[in-house]
Symmetry: C2
Subunit: 202 residues, 2 copies
Protein backbone atom coordinates (compact mmCIF):
# COMPACT_ATOMS: atom_id res chain seq x y z
CA UNK A 1 0.00 0.00 0.00
CA UNK A 2 1.44 3.35 -1.02
CA UNK A 3 2.12 5.75 1.78
CA UNK A 4 0.50 9.11 1.10
CA UNK A 5 2.91 11.67 -0.31
CA UNK A 6 0.86 14.82 -0.47
CA UNK A 7 -0.37 16.90 2.42
CA UNK A 8 -3.94 16.05 1.59
CA UNK A 9 -3.24 12.34 1.47
CA UNK A 10 -1.43 12.29 4.81
CA UNK A 11 -4.25 14.22 6.35
CA UNK A 12 -6.90 11.85 5.06
CA UNK A 13 -5.11 8.70 6.17
CA UNK A 14 -4.35 10.22 9.55
CA UNK A 15 -7.97 11.18 10.03
CA UNK A 16 -9.10 7.65 9.22
CA UNK A 17 -6.72 6.07 11.73
CA UNK A 18 -7.59 8.64 14.37
CA UNK A 19 -11.33 8.19 14.02
CA UNK A 20 -11.04 4.42 13.75
CA UNK A 21 -9.04 4.29 16.96
CA UNK A 22 -11.66 6.32 18.78
CA UNK A 23 -14.55 4.24 17.56
CA UNK A 24 -12.83 0.92 18.20
CA UNK A 25 -11.93 2.06 21.68
CA UNK A 26 -15.53 3.03 22.41
CA UNK A 27 -17.52 0.33 20.67
CA UNK A 28 -15.06 -2.50 20.24
CA UNK A 29 -13.08 -3.61 17.21
CA UNK A 30 -15.51 -5.94 15.51
CA UNK A 31 -18.44 -3.70 16.35
CA UNK A 32 -16.84 -0.90 14.36
CA UNK A 33 -17.51 -1.28 10.67
CA UNK A 34 -15.54 0.33 7.91
CA UNK A 35 -18.59 2.30 6.93
CA UNK A 36 -18.90 3.70 10.44
CA UNK A 37 -15.35 4.96 10.21
CA UNK A 38 -15.85 6.45 6.78
CA UNK A 39 -19.04 8.17 7.83
CA UNK A 40 -17.35 9.62 10.92
CA UNK A 41 -14.30 10.78 9.03
CA UNK A 42 -16.24 12.09 6.05
CA UNK A 43 -14.35 10.01 3.52
CA UNK A 44 -15.34 7.39 1.00
CA UNK A 45 -14.50 3.78 0.48
CA UNK A 46 -12.13 4.45 -2.34
CA UNK A 47 -9.88 6.48 -0.04
CA UNK A 48 -9.90 3.74 2.51
CA UNK A 49 -8.83 0.99 0.14
CA UNK A 50 -6.35 3.36 -1.39
CA UNK A 51 -4.47 3.58 1.90
CA UNK A 52 -5.27 0.26 3.55
CA UNK A 53 -5.34 -3.16 2.01
CA UNK A 54 -7.85 -4.52 4.50
CA UNK A 55 -9.51 -3.93 7.81
CA UNK A 56 -6.78 -6.01 9.41
CA UNK A 57 -4.12 -3.59 8.28
CA UNK A 58 -6.15 -0.70 9.62
CA UNK A 59 -6.35 -2.43 12.99
CA UNK A 60 -2.59 -2.80 13.00
CA UNK A 61 -2.20 0.93 12.46
CA UNK A 62 -4.79 1.66 15.11
CA UNK A 63 -2.76 -0.46 17.50
CA UNK A 64 0.35 1.59 16.76
CA UNK A 65 -1.65 4.75 17.20
CA UNK A 66 -2.89 3.66 20.60
CA UNK A 67 0.61 2.71 21.69
CA UNK A 68 1.90 6.12 20.70
CA UNK A 69 -0.89 7.76 22.63
CA UNK A 70 -0.11 5.77 25.75
CA UNK A 71 3.60 6.50 25.47
CA UNK A 72 3.00 10.19 24.90
CA UNK A 73 0.78 10.38 27.95
CA UNK A 74 3.35 8.48 29.96
CA UNK A 75 6.20 10.71 28.81
CA UNK A 76 4.80 13.43 31.05
CA UNK A 77 6.23 11.40 33.92
CA UNK A 78 9.96 10.66 34.08
CA UNK A 79 9.34 7.42 36.04
CA UNK A 80 12.80 7.58 37.53
CA UNK A 81 11.76 8.49 41.08
CA UNK A 82 9.21 7.01 43.46
CA UNK A 83 7.31 10.25 43.41
CA UNK A 84 6.91 10.30 39.66
CA UNK A 85 5.83 6.66 39.52
CA UNK A 86 3.29 7.40 42.17
CA UNK A 87 2.12 10.47 40.28
CA UNK A 88 1.80 8.42 37.11
CA UNK A 89 -0.38 5.85 38.85
CA UNK A 90 -2.50 8.65 40.24
CA UNK A 91 -2.93 10.13 36.78
CA UNK A 92 -3.97 6.76 35.38
CA UNK A 93 -6.64 6.43 38.03
CA UNK A 94 -7.88 9.95 37.39
CA UNK A 95 -8.10 9.37 33.67
CA UNK A 96 -10.02 6.13 34.02
CA UNK A 97 -12.32 7.78 36.50
CA UNK A 98 -13.04 10.86 34.45
CA UNK A 99 -13.61 9.07 31.21
CA UNK A 100 -17.27 8.25 31.02
CA UNK A 101 -18.19 4.58 31.26
CA UNK A 102 -14.77 3.50 32.59
CA UNK A 103 -13.66 2.54 29.16
CA UNK A 104 -10.49 0.68 30.02
CA UNK A 105 -6.91 0.88 28.84
CA UNK A 106 -6.57 2.47 25.40
CA UNK A 107 -4.05 -0.17 24.48
CA UNK A 108 -5.13 -3.11 26.59
CA UNK A 109 -8.81 -3.08 25.78
CA UNK A 110 -8.09 -3.22 22.08
CA UNK A 111 -5.31 -5.76 22.44
CA UNK A 112 -7.56 -8.14 24.31
CA UNK A 113 -9.91 -8.21 21.34
CA UNK A 114 -7.19 -9.29 18.98
CA UNK A 115 -6.32 -12.56 20.66
CA UNK A 116 -8.68 -14.47 18.37
CA UNK A 117 -7.95 -12.44 15.25
CA UNK A 118 -5.00 -14.42 14.02
CA UNK A 119 -1.36 -14.49 14.97
CA UNK A 120 -0.38 -11.36 13.13
CA UNK A 121 -2.41 -8.90 15.15
CA UNK A 122 -1.85 -10.82 18.36
CA UNK A 123 1.91 -10.61 18.00
CA UNK A 124 1.70 -6.93 17.18
CA UNK A 125 -0.23 -6.42 20.39
CA UNK A 126 2.50 -8.33 22.20
CA UNK A 127 5.12 -6.01 20.71
CA UNK A 128 3.11 -2.99 21.75
CA UNK A 129 3.08 -4.19 25.33
CA UNK A 130 6.80 -4.85 25.14
CA UNK A 131 7.41 -1.29 24.00
CA UNK A 132 5.33 0.03 26.82
CA UNK A 133 7.20 -2.09 29.32
CA UNK A 134 10.57 -0.96 28.04
CA UNK A 135 9.60 2.66 28.65
CA UNK A 136 8.97 1.74 32.25
CA UNK A 137 11.94 -0.53 32.70
CA UNK A 138 14.14 2.29 31.41
CA UNK A 139 13.01 4.42 34.30
CA UNK A 140 13.60 1.59 36.73
CA UNK A 141 17.14 1.15 35.45
CA UNK A 142 17.74 4.84 36.00
CA UNK A 143 16.54 4.36 39.54
CA UNK A 144 19.02 1.55 40.00
CA UNK A 145 21.78 3.85 38.75
CA UNK A 146 20.74 6.55 41.20
CA UNK A 147 20.42 4.10 44.07
CA UNK A 148 16.65 4.25 44.43
CA UNK A 149 16.21 0.63 43.41
CA UNK A 150 18.22 -2.37 44.53
CA UNK A 151 20.57 -3.89 42.00
CA UNK A 152 19.12 -7.36 42.44
CA UNK A 153 15.80 -6.16 41.06
CA UNK A 154 15.06 -7.16 37.47
CA UNK A 155 13.68 -4.07 35.72
CA UNK A 156 12.23 -6.01 32.78
CA UNK A 157 10.30 -8.45 34.92
CA UNK A 158 9.18 -5.72 37.27
CA UNK A 159 7.94 -3.61 34.38
CA UNK A 160 6.06 -6.53 32.85
CA UNK A 161 4.43 -7.40 36.13
CA UNK A 162 3.47 -3.79 36.72
CA UNK A 163 1.72 -3.59 33.37
CA UNK A 164 0.02 -6.90 34.05
CA UNK A 165 -1.34 -5.73 37.38
CA UNK A 166 -2.41 -2.47 35.79
CA UNK A 167 -4.31 -4.32 33.07
CA UNK A 168 -6.10 -6.46 35.60
CA UNK A 169 -7.16 -3.35 37.46
CA UNK A 170 -8.43 -1.81 34.25
CA UNK A 171 -10.47 -4.90 33.39
CA UNK A 172 -12.25 -5.19 36.73
CA UNK A 173 -12.75 -1.47 36.95
CA UNK A 174 -14.33 -1.34 33.50
CA UNK A 175 -16.49 -4.38 34.10
CA UNK A 176 -17.79 -3.21 37.47
CA UNK A 177 -17.84 0.48 36.63
CA UNK A 178 -15.99 1.06 39.88
CA UNK A 179 -12.64 2.72 40.27
CA UNK A 180 -11.65 0.85 43.42
CA UNK A 181 -10.31 -2.37 41.93
CA UNK A 182 -8.02 -0.33 39.72
CA UNK A 183 -6.90 1.85 42.59
CA UNK A 184 -6.19 -1.20 44.73
CA UNK A 185 -4.37 -2.96 41.92
CA UNK A 186 -2.09 0.03 41.42
CA UNK A 187 -1.45 0.17 45.16
CA UNK A 188 -0.30 -3.44 44.95
CA UNK A 189 1.88 -2.68 41.96
CA UNK A 190 3.50 0.18 43.82
CA UNK A 191 4.11 -1.80 46.97
CA UNK A 192 5.60 -4.60 44.90
CA UNK A 193 8.00 -2.14 43.27
CA UNK A 194 8.80 -0.50 46.60
CA UNK A 195 9.72 -3.85 48.08
CA UNK A 196 12.84 -3.56 45.94
CA UNK A 197 13.81 -0.22 47.39
CA UNK A 198 16.97 -0.22 49.51
CA UNK A 199 16.92 0.69 53.22
CA UNK A 200 13.94 -1.51 53.96
CA UNK A 201 14.36 -2.94 57.43
CA UNK A 202 13.30 -6.54 57.52
Amino acid sequence: MPEPTTRRGKDTKGRIVELAAGLMYERGVSATSIEDILAASGTGKSQFYHYFSSKEQLIAEVLRHQLQQVLREQSRFPLDTWESISAWFGALVDMQQNQRDYRGCPLGSISSQLLDHGDLLRSQAAEAFAHWESALSGGLRAMQASGLLRDDADPDTLAESTIAVLQGGYLLSSTKRDIRPMRNALAIALSQLRSYAPDVRR
Copy 2:
Protein backbone atom coordinates in the same frame (compact mmCIF):
# COMPACT_ATOMS: atom_id res chain seq x y z
CA MET B 1 -38.52 -18.43 26.94
CA PRO B 2 -39.81 -21.76 28.20
CA GLU B 3 -37.34 -23.86 30.10
CA PRO B 4 -37.13 -27.38 28.67
CA THR B 5 -39.16 -29.90 30.61
CA THR B 6 -38.34 -33.18 28.94
CA ARG B 7 -35.07 -35.05 29.09
CA ARG B 8 -34.54 -34.49 25.39
CA GLY B 9 -35.14 -30.76 25.68
CA LYS B 10 -32.75 -30.31 28.59
CA ASP B 11 -30.14 -32.26 26.74
CA THR B 12 -30.46 -30.17 23.58
CA LYS B 13 -30.33 -26.85 25.39
CA GLY B 14 -27.41 -27.98 27.50
CA ARG B 15 -25.54 -29.12 24.43
CA ILE B 16 -26.04 -25.76 22.77
CA VAL B 17 -24.75 -23.81 25.76
CA GLU B 18 -21.82 -26.17 26.20
CA LEU B 19 -20.72 -25.97 22.58
CA ALA B 20 -21.32 -22.24 22.40
CA ALA B 21 -19.15 -21.68 25.45
CA GLY B 22 -16.34 -23.68 23.92
CA LEU B 23 -16.48 -21.91 20.59
CA MET B 24 -16.73 -18.45 22.10
CA TYR B 25 -13.82 -19.20 24.37
CA GLU B 26 -11.71 -20.32 21.43
CA ARG B 27 -12.72 -17.91 18.68
CA GLY B 28 -14.24 -15.00 20.54
CA VAL B 29 -17.85 -14.07 21.11
CA SER B 30 -18.62 -12.05 18.00
CA ALA B 31 -16.58 -14.38 15.83
CA THR B 32 -18.86 -17.24 16.81
CA SER B 33 -22.04 -17.27 14.78
CA ILE B 34 -25.23 -19.00 15.72
CA GLU B 35 -24.84 -21.21 12.69
CA ASP B 36 -21.39 -22.30 13.86
CA ILE B 37 -22.89 -23.37 17.14
CA LEU B 38 -25.76 -25.20 15.52
CA ALA B 39 -23.45 -27.03 13.15
CA ALA B 40 -21.17 -28.06 16.00
CA SER B 41 -24.01 -29.22 18.21
CA GLY B 42 -25.94 -30.93 15.43
CA THR B 43 -29.10 -28.97 15.99
CA GLY B 44 -31.22 -26.65 13.89
CA LYS B 45 -32.26 -23.07 14.13
CA SER B 46 -35.71 -23.84 15.31
CA GLN B 47 -34.35 -25.50 18.42
CA PHE B 48 -32.17 -22.55 19.12
CA TYR B 49 -34.93 -19.97 18.97
CA HIS B 50 -37.15 -22.33 20.88
CA TYR B 51 -34.82 -22.12 23.88
CA PHE B 52 -33.21 -18.72 23.46
CA SER B 53 -34.84 -15.47 22.50
CA SER B 54 -31.66 -14.02 21.00
CA LYS B 55 -27.92 -14.39 20.80
CA GLU B 56 -27.64 -12.01 23.71
CA GLN B 57 -29.54 -14.36 25.96
CA LEU B 58 -27.34 -17.22 24.87
CA ILE B 59 -24.27 -15.21 25.80
CA ALA B 60 -25.75 -14.60 29.23
CA GLU B 61 -26.15 -18.32 29.72
CA VAL B 62 -22.66 -18.98 28.42
CA LEU B 63 -21.38 -16.54 31.01
CA ARG B 64 -23.14 -18.44 33.78
CA HIS B 65 -21.77 -21.67 32.38
CA GLN B 66 -18.22 -20.33 32.43
CA LEU B 67 -18.62 -19.07 35.97
CA GLN B 68 -19.83 -22.48 37.09
CA GLN B 69 -16.87 -24.10 35.41
CA VAL B 70 -14.42 -21.79 37.14
CA LEU B 71 -16.09 -22.31 40.50
CA ARG B 72 -16.13 -26.07 40.08
CA GLU B 73 -12.47 -26.12 39.21
CA GLN B 74 -11.73 -23.88 42.16
CA SER B 75 -13.74 -26.02 44.53
CA ARG B 76 -10.98 -28.61 44.35
CA PHE B 77 -9.02 -26.25 46.59
CA PRO B 78 -10.36 -25.28 50.02
CA LEU B 79 -8.52 -21.93 49.89
CA ASP B 80 -8.46 -21.76 53.65
CA THR B 81 -4.74 -22.40 54.12
CA TRP B 82 -1.67 -20.86 52.56
CA GLU B 83 -0.79 -24.20 51.07
CA SER B 84 -4.07 -24.60 49.28
CA ILE B 85 -4.00 -21.07 47.91
CA SER B 86 -0.53 -21.72 46.65
CA ALA B 87 -1.63 -25.01 45.12
CA TRP B 88 -4.55 -23.27 43.44
CA PHE B 89 -2.27 -20.71 41.87
CA GLY B 90 0.01 -23.47 40.69
CA ALA B 91 -2.91 -25.29 39.13
CA LEU B 92 -4.02 -22.13 37.32
CA VAL B 93 -0.56 -21.73 35.85
CA ASP B 94 -0.47 -25.36 34.79
CA MET B 95 -3.83 -25.14 33.11
CA GLN B 96 -2.97 -21.99 31.19
CA GLN B 97 0.30 -23.56 30.17
CA ASN B 98 -1.12 -26.84 29.01
CA GLN B 99 -4.00 -25.40 27.08
CA ARG B 100 -2.82 -24.83 23.59
CA ASP B 101 -2.46 -21.22 22.50
CA TYR B 102 -2.61 -19.81 26.03
CA ARG B 103 -6.25 -19.07 25.66
CA GLY B 104 -6.79 -16.98 28.75
CA CYS B 105 -9.25 -17.06 31.59
CA PRO B 106 -12.45 -18.92 30.75
CA LEU B 107 -14.45 -16.24 32.47
CA GLY B 108 -12.27 -13.17 32.01
CA SER B 109 -11.58 -13.51 28.31
CA ILE B 110 -15.28 -13.67 27.56
CA SER B 111 -16.17 -10.94 30.02
CA SER B 112 -13.73 -8.54 28.44
CA GLN B 113 -15.55 -8.91 25.15
CA LEU B 114 -18.86 -7.89 26.66
CA LEU B 115 -17.85 -4.43 27.79
CA ASP B 116 -19.15 -2.88 24.58
CA HIS B 117 -22.19 -5.14 24.24
CA GLY B 118 -24.58 -3.11 26.31
CA ASP B 119 -25.10 -2.73 30.02
CA LEU B 120 -26.99 -5.94 30.52
CA LEU B 121 -24.20 -8.33 29.65
CA ARG B 122 -21.58 -6.09 31.21
CA SER B 123 -23.36 -6.08 34.53
CA GLN B 124 -23.80 -9.85 34.37
CA ALA B 125 -20.07 -10.18 33.87
CA ALA B 126 -19.57 -7.95 36.89
CA GLU B 127 -21.81 -10.20 38.94
CA ALA B 128 -19.89 -13.25 37.78
CA PHE B 129 -16.65 -11.73 38.99
CA ALA B 130 -18.31 -10.86 42.28
CA HIS B 131 -19.37 -14.48 42.75
CA TRP B 132 -15.88 -15.66 42.03
CA GLU B 133 -14.44 -13.21 44.51
CA SER B 134 -16.86 -14.25 47.21
CA ALA B 135 -15.71 -17.85 46.87
CA LEU B 136 -12.20 -16.64 47.58
CA SER B 137 -13.09 -14.18 50.30
CA GLY B 138 -14.95 -16.96 52.07
CA GLY B 139 -11.72 -18.89 52.33
CA LEU B 140 -9.89 -15.81 53.54
CA ARG B 141 -12.47 -15.29 56.26
CA ALA B 142 -11.97 -18.88 57.36
CA MET B 143 -8.26 -18.14 57.56
CA GLN B 144 -8.97 -15.17 59.78
CA ALA B 145 -11.04 -17.39 62.04
CA SER B 146 -8.24 -19.92 62.28
CA GLY B 147 -5.61 -17.27 62.86
CA LEU B 148 -3.82 -17.60 59.52
CA LEU B 149 -4.79 -14.11 58.38
CA ARG B 150 -4.71 -10.92 60.39
CA ASP B 151 -8.05 -9.49 61.46
CA ASP B 152 -7.28 -6.09 59.98
CA ALA B 153 -7.18 -7.59 56.50
CA ASP B 154 -10.29 -6.97 54.38
CA PRO B 155 -11.18 -10.27 52.70
CA ASP B 156 -13.44 -8.70 50.09
CA THR B 157 -10.88 -6.20 48.90
CA LEU B 158 -8.12 -8.78 49.00
CA ALA B 159 -10.18 -11.19 46.95
CA GLU B 160 -11.04 -8.55 44.39
CA SER B 161 -7.44 -7.50 44.04
CA THR B 162 -6.30 -11.08 43.71
CA ILE B 163 -8.70 -11.69 40.86
CA ALA B 164 -7.61 -8.43 39.23
CA VAL B 165 -3.94 -9.38 39.35
CA LEU B 166 -4.81 -12.84 38.07
CA GLN B 167 -6.69 -11.35 35.12
CA GLY B 168 -3.79 -9.10 34.24
CA GLY B 169 -1.50 -12.09 34.27
CA TYR B 170 -3.86 -13.99 32.01
CA LEU B 171 -4.04 -11.13 29.53
CA LEU B 172 -0.32 -10.63 29.13
CA SER B 173 0.32 -14.34 29.09
CA SER B 174 -2.23 -14.89 26.34
CA THR B 175 -1.03 -11.95 24.31
CA LYS B 176 2.63 -12.88 24.49
CA ARG B 177 2.09 -16.62 24.47
CA ASP B 178 4.42 -16.78 27.45
CA ILE B 179 3.58 -18.21 30.84
CA ARG B 180 6.00 -16.00 32.77
CA PRO B 181 3.90 -12.85 33.14
CA MET B 182 1.11 -14.94 34.61
CA ARG B 183 3.45 -16.78 36.94
CA ASN B 184 4.96 -13.51 38.11
CA ALA B 185 1.57 -11.91 38.56
CA LEU B 186 0.41 -14.78 40.74
CA ALA B 187 3.59 -14.54 42.76
CA ILE B 188 2.75 -10.91 43.41
CA ALA B 189 -0.80 -11.80 44.35
CA LEU B 190 0.46 -14.38 46.80
CA SER B 191 3.00 -12.09 48.40
CA GLN B 192 0.35 -9.41 48.72
CA LEU B 193 -1.92 -11.87 50.53
CA ARG B 194 0.94 -13.14 52.69
CA SER B 195 1.75 -9.63 53.80
CA TYR B 196 -1.41 -9.92 55.88
CA ALA B 197 -0.25 -13.06 57.64
CA PRO B 198 0.45 -12.69 61.35
CA ASP B 199 3.94 -13.25 62.84
CA VAL B 200 5.70 -11.29 60.16
CA ARG B 201 8.69 -9.53 61.70
CA ARG B 202 9.00 -6.05 60.31
